[in-house]
Amino acid sequence: MAASEVPTAITSWVLRVGTAAALGVDAVVHWQNAPAYDPVTGTVSQGALFRTEAVVAVVAALLVLIRPRPSSWLAALLVAASALGTVLLYRYVDVGSLGPLPDMYENTWHVPGKLLSAYAEAAAVVFAGLGLLTHRQRPGMQPLVAVAAMARRRG
């Protein structure tokens, strides 16, 4: 492991705070907008899904702040990426109701915080992705290092 691959304390904290802040914005927007989406129901309401997203985002944010291990960064990345993917999917594709999920198609950004939340989710994807890459040098993470090394050789 080269010393230059170990993230500095500053880099680590920037990534952790950035990820947590972005996930925090995502959580606040979803929590505040949830009541307006309670009438949108399937087996589960869209409001309930928003509250769940808010709680999961807060947990992921706390994990990268308190316990910045690869699993925490991966959790934050998955939470942010899934949220971003969902908002983009339902913004541009009318998929209707899916299983227990309500029909959440909404072909407009003119909803309070929706665009901000999408930007925050994108930022969280970037921060958490970088966090996962820079904190990969932990026991059991050697395969990731090997993959990166192979990519560098090919590049």
């Binding site: 950035g18 307006a36 309500p102 072909n107 309070p112 901000l116 939340s117």
Partner: protein, 180 residues
């Protein structure tokens, strides 16, 4: 050693994107730009706060507008004389408020005009039992950018003077119990 500056640049770009989102969010329909209470356009009311509803010609045919020419919409999720739009929904779709019995302009049937009292005790104008709204994305009188949008669980349409929704170029009545 080249990786560190690259990493810094990527992080700065991410921070910039987040900041851009914050700036954008403070604009139209942005986070914190609205509240749970409805806001009506000052253009659509008389000085005493009484709403005016009139008919105007548009690319979709004759549609309902307020006294200032701003397009009015109905929400398909609403029940007759009952609004299903609250909270963030009202921020995106401000209600057409009136402090008294709304006035009927040209082309509008006065008998179809009415009001309901919302949960926050504000008075919302109705037409043929449809609660009426503005769209926050319409910045100018005559704009109809909210037409056909799906938001908050159902579609939004401009309203024909006959009392039904205008779907595309044709008038379509919505739901049951809205007749009359």
């Amino acid at each position: 050693m080249l990786r560190r500056p690259l990493l810094t640049l990527v992080m700065l770009a991410a921070v910039g994107a987040l900041a851009a989102g914050c700036g954008n969010g403070s604009g139209s329909g942005g986070y914190g730009s609205g509240g749970s209470s409805g806001t009506s356009s000052p253009m659509g009311t008389t000085p005493s706060g009484v709403a005016m509803v009139t008919a105007a010609s548009s690319k979709l045919g004759m549609v309902l507008v307020d006294g200032g020419g701003r397009t009015l919409y109905l929400f398909e999720k609403d029940q007759p004389n009952q609004s299903a739009c609250t909270g963030a929904c009202v921020a995106a779709w401000p209600v057409d408020q009136s402090s008294g019995t709304p006035k009927a302009g040209g082309g509008v049937k006065a008998s179809l005009l009415g009001t309901i009292t919302r949960s926050d005790n504000t008075t919302q104008v109705t037409y043929n039992h449809h609660p009426l709204y503005y769209y926050a994305g319409d910045s100018q009188p005559g704009q109809q950018d909210g037409q056909g949008l799906n938001a908050f669980g159902a579609a939004w349409f401009v309203v024909a003077p006959a009392g039904g929704a205008v779907s595309g170029g044709a008038t379509a009545t919505t739901g049951s119990g809205y007749g009359g």
